[in-house]
Amino acid sequence: MSKLVNSIREAVALSGLKDGMTVSFHHHLRNGDFVLNMVMEEIANAGIKDLTVNASSLFDVHRPLLTHIQNKVVTGLSADYISAGIGRAISQGVMEKPVEFRTHGGRPRDIALGRTPIDVAFIAAPAADKMGNCTGKYGKSACGSLGYAFADAMYAKKVVVITDQLMDYPLQNWSISESYVDYVVAVDAIGDPKGIVSGTTQITRDPVGLVMASHAAKVIENSGLLKDGFSFQTGAGGASLAAAKYLKDIMLEKKIQGSFGLGGITGYLVDMLQAGCFRNLLDVQCFDLKAVESIRSDPRHQEITAMHYAAPGSRSAVVDNLDVVILGATEIDTDFNVNVHTDSNGYIMGGSGGHSDTAAGAKLSMIIAPMFRARLPIVTDRVTCISTPGESIDVLVTQGGIAVNPRQAELKQRLVDAGLPVVDIHELKEKAERITGKPAKLPKGDRVVANVIGREGDLQDVIYNVPVKD
């Protein structure tokens, strides 16, 4: 028996996809992904209209989607993160129906509960066998973890695996098992390896980034959380990685053995695992080649599903046991609400991803951001969009000082006692505005282009269109 079919076109036809249905994709191939575009082109060719695309994230490589939107092939969009290339068009009003943003934990939860049913899931797989056992660990397009694809595979009515590395049956060490898969398609290439994972990321040389990283590491050191069993997550931004490097030095010097590193995994966390800073890495997404190599060869480095990573309302998720997370922000307001969905001009250029999930779960959630970017102060009176509510943010680290959420009085005292430059967030705002000048308020659009669904499933905020100037 074999589930192999000849082409994506055939798989689309066999899946029974019809007008008005929902298709889904994962984003493990990031900006190197070919699969979403290939599938959507076949769907458009088949004359199917009015689809909803539910993608865990969308990148600039997916810009052909805008044509399908204009042609009404796609009329609904749901994602956890949308990069600027597509986000800008959405902010300018390309879609009639508002986009739905969820969190990395909220998306699988809503799929599992049937709130966002998927008719056909198309799963890009760097290695698969003829029955659909598949993984991201092997193959020329290897991406490591397939964590975001599990919910799609488990709950979609039909599941199509698309691979460019067909392996002998049975594939060893599979991630998603054949029991969920209906069809398998082999293609020449599912992606461009250069866009899928980056090479070795160098520690930032930006002096401001290094100052922030050094402050961040000292905040963790003095938080009272850095002891044996410590657990940690950090993003892949320059300053966050530098903070991980400083943290590693502190952990080694103090001989602290943590329990796990979580999240999108980079080579820096792999270094920390290998140096003995953690017993395990729990990996929902690999960011670089070193992480892919590690998840393939080191049993301590384990793949986890998005549900297991971050889903609220499930029996439990790893974020609930996270000590410290380092996160970014495009804006943060004086109530510590964070915006990672839009830029300061209001254009969509991101999304929560795991931001609000980890912030809600972690004992200490820390934002690292410069006091100002391109003359725009990072601290505002009110963020353009609440991506993560201020009640789950504890500390803001900038080069000009460290602001602690007032409800964390004990932490604040610890940092003051440690001699760290603790300032009130209002002071930080004024300090930045003294340097940049006070920015004029931008006119807001009058049409909602996106709904931001909070991790508990409630409507947390809306994003308005950006008025196009004549």
């Binding site: 290094l210 100052v211 000009g400 340097i435």
Partner: protein, 293 residues
């Protein structure tokens, strides 16, 4: 008090505007080597505006102008002096006359601007064999001299030897500068450590400079500032000892004793002076634990 000085390229807005928060006790706005001849005019205006509009509270401001054998140095001073930088770093100072030339022009500008005499200090950059041999004469040339500053990159080129991480080739220059500066009662600063990716080597290099008697050290990367600041700060043990010295002296005076021993060692005037300097430094750096009690 300056332990660390960070070089900032004079025509790079992004570095200049963030210069005050990078952790250096002083920043050096560089109009010389970091700026190409075609951009000297632009850097001069940019640095002047940075000095004028940006807040550098808690961070002293030094400008490295171009050397007196170029066409730029007077225009550099014309531009920055009205903004009252704490120090001028004068490159390629080879003789006392070089320092006096700059001193005379700064004096002229101070008068024109109505600034108090010698309010802007001068820090000769010793980076030639001639400068090393004339170090004392330069350090003692005029009241304006605040410190000597060793520049090892140009110096090793002049000496026709290779610049190494260990620095054997600049041993003589280092000790010579420290002796000359101390003889003239001015401060003395060590050359930057140039491997920005070597986070260990900077500690060794800074400790060596401190052991030789330098006041502090320059840096070309903010990554080196923590090592420099820590190395050139008094340790808590040193601060405690300094207090013990002063208490012992006070007690001796009260008891009418001339000389006194502490931990089996005679306390003499230089030890007392050192203890006073240590406490002064600790107070400035906020390391003085007795204040907190």
């Amino acid at each position: 008090m300056i332990r660390s000085m960070l070089f900032l390229p004079g025509n790079n807005p992004n570095m200049l505007i963030n210069g005050s928060v990078l952790g250096a006790d002083a920043v050096i706005f560089d109009l010389e080597d970091a700026v190409s001849p075609a951009e000297k005019d632009a850097a001069r205006v940019l640095v002047r505006n940075t000095l004028r509009y940006m807040d550098f509270t808690g961070c002293q401001r030094i400008v490295r102008i171009n050397s007196t054998d170029t066409a730029y140095w007077k225009a550099d001073l014309d531009a920055v002096l009205p903004e009252k930088p704490e120090l001028i770093l004068l490159p390629k100072t080879g003789t006392a006359q070089d320092a006096l030339t700059a001193d005379a022009y700064i004096t002229e500008l101070e008068e024109k601007l109505g600034l108090p005499a010698n309010s802007v200090g001068l820090m000769p950059l010793i980076e030639t064999a001639l400068g090393v041999e004339n170090a004392y004469a330069i350090a003692a040339s005029c009241k304006r001299i605040h410190a000597l500053f060793l520049g090892a990159e140009d110096l090793t080129a002049d000496l026709r030897c290779k610049r190494t991480k260990e620095g054997r080739e600049i041993e003589y220059a280092r000790t010579r500068l420290v002796v000359a500066a101390r003889a003239a009662d001015v401060e003395v600063y060590d050359t930057p450590f140039t491997d920005v990716n070597d986070d260990e080597g900077i500690w060794t290099d800074a400790e060596l400079a401190k052991a030789l008697g330098f006041t502090g050290k320059a840096a070309i990367s903010p990554r080196h500032l923590e090592a420099i600041n820590q190395t050139f700060s008094p340790t808590l043990a040193e601060i405690d000892y300094a207090y013990e010295v002063l208490e012992a002296i006070a007690m001796a005076k009260a008891q009418g004793k001339g000389a006194i021993a502490l931990r089996g060692k005679m306390i003499d005037a230089p030890i007392v002076a050192r203890a006073q300097r240590t406490i002064e430094m600790a107070e400035q750096l906020g390391l003085d634990r007795r204040d907190a009690e």
